[in-house]
């Protein structure tokens, strides 16, 4: 199942990737690749298809064009839990605590070696809230729980849809630090932003979507 990635193949590559909704082109065709250790910023105005692009890459929308993971055509096997998705929705149940939610997701995805839910929550700065039900947390804190999920679960390709939303200045710095650490470990991240937040890595490549 887990074939080692062929060297010198990008973690993620897209060829003539396009998406149409009701015969209206949403974006594309796009060609790009995401190499290990690289962060690519997807920019565009509201409605330009940033979220749609990420959902297509995550396999949550049907594709036109070709997506490859480590050189292999996208499928459930080649994706195999290596894609982590942080969207507008938390992906967690509001009635459960962060510990219970993260524990459940760890059951599905596994965990990074040496990482626990408590450590991940501590790292994103809300270690004290681990046993509170999520509905007691603010929007920014929920976003941080989402970041803790990225830290806890293994997966080298991060698809982050507006990770800066709802976060304060420290939170934005935290996101940038987490992405930098992840890339230093050999992971890669595709980050959308509507351009209001200054991205830390000024050398990062940009994909610009036009509505």
């Amino acid at each position: 199942m887990t074939t080692p990635p062929a060297p010198a193949a990008p973690l993620l590559s897209a060829h003539r990737l396009a998406f149409t909704r009701n015969d209206e082109p949403v974006f594309g065709p796009l060609d790009f690749s995401l190499w290990s250790g690289e962060t690519v910023l997807v920019e565009g105005d509201n409605g330009s298809g940033k979220t749609t692009l990420l959902r297509v890459l995550a396999g949550m929308l049907p594709t036109e064009g070709e997506i490859r993971f480590c050189g292999q055509p996208a499928s459930r096997d080649s994706r195999n839990g290596r894609v982590l998705w942080l969207g507008h929705r938390t992906g967690m149940n509001e009635a459960l605590s962060a510990r219970e939610n993260l524990g459940f997701l760890a059951g599905l995805y596994g965990t990074r070696v040496g990482m626990t839910a408590a450590m991940a929550m501590e790292r994103v700065g809300i270690g004290g809230w681990i046993d509170e039900p999520l509905r007691a947390l603010s929007a920014g804190q929920k976003k941080r729980v989402g970041l803790a999920r990225l830290l806890l679960l293994p997966g080298d390709i991060w698809l982050l849809d507006e990770p800066y939303a709802n976060l304060d200045r420290h939170g934005i710095a935290l996101v940038n630090a987490l992405i930098a650490e992840h890339c230093a470990r050999g992971g890669a991240a595709l980050v959308t932003s509507h351009g209001a937040v200054r991205f830390a890595d000024t050398n990062a490549r940009h994909i610009h979507l036009v509505a």
Partner: protein, 251 residues
């Protein structure tokens, strides 16, 4: 890093990624399913008040029957089996609608889809958790409800056996429809309209077994039919449910 060529740099990074993939363990399917079961049980316990409602509904409706039909023990004994069967089916309906609703709304289903686990198996686990938390309590109170309606004692085991086979079958059928309608607003009535035709054969076979037991005839044949249908549904319904969940997340 500056001294090495870009290709070598890419190679080392690819090896790092390989390391990253190797040092992380993928949980087995069993671990994933038990994590889902545990989560659903904890959630059910948090919302135990809600789970109590179908039970209350079943008890109240059963208690009303003798008042509406008059205290004729013979009449009650004759209709008790069928009445209890229909009450259980109706009491199950409202919960079926909500089977995937919350998970779709809070994005949990997106996480299911990306997880390195077979979606159909997660769907089957959800069905099992749903059945254990919402339907089994109804079956447990059956002796009490049977007593309220003067159900003959010899029929009670057959009624419970029929319910143990028919209700998982209905939850499996309902899971597909629930996944299909999860994204729709006010899907409750839609689900009921779609499920009831599918429920008719199930009810017919279960009622057949109960009627046979009541008149002292062999009742095994209809029960075996239910068991066969259940086996078929256990194999096929999760696959259909997984496909429906993918559609629900896409839209």
């Amino acid at each position: 890093m500056a001294s090495i060529t870009p290709t070598m740099e890419a190679n080392t990074k690819a090896m790092d990624a390989e390391n990253l993939a190797r040092v992380t363990r993928r949980p087995g399917t069993w671990r994933a399913c038990s994590a889902l079961l545990r989560r659903d049980f904890v959630l059910a316990w948090r919302r135990r008040g809600e789970l109590f409602l179908p039970l209350l509904y079943a008890v109240i409706v059963t208690a009303l029957f003798p008042f509406a039909l008059g205290p004729d023990p013979e009449l009650l004994a004759r209709i008790a089996g069928g009445v209890l069967l229909v009450i259980v089916v109706l009491a199950m309906l409202p919960a079926l609608e909500a089977m995937f609703r919350a998970d779709l709304e809070d994005g949990t289903l997106e996480q299911w889809l990306l997880a390195p686990q077979p979606l159909a198996l997660l769907a089957l686990t959800r069905v099992i958790a749903h059945w254990l938390t919402t339907v089994v309590p109804l079956i447990i109170v059956m002796p009490l409800l049977g007593a309220l309606l003067n159900l003959p004692v010899k029929v009670l085991p057959v009624l419970i056996a029929a319910l143990l086979l028919a209700t998982p079958l209905l939850v499996l059928l309902g899971s597909v429809l629930s996944a299909l309608t999860a994204g729709a607003r006010r899907s409750g009535i839609l689900l009921a309209l779609m499920l009831l035709p599918l429920a008719v054969p199930v009810v017919i076979f279960a009622a057949g077994a109960i009627a046979a037991a009541q008149s002292g005839m062999p009742y095994l044949a209809p029960l075996t039919w239910l068991a066969a249908a259940l086996v078929l549904a256990i194999v096929l319904a999760p696959l259909a449910c997984a496909a429906a969940l993918r559609i629900a997340v896409e839209t």
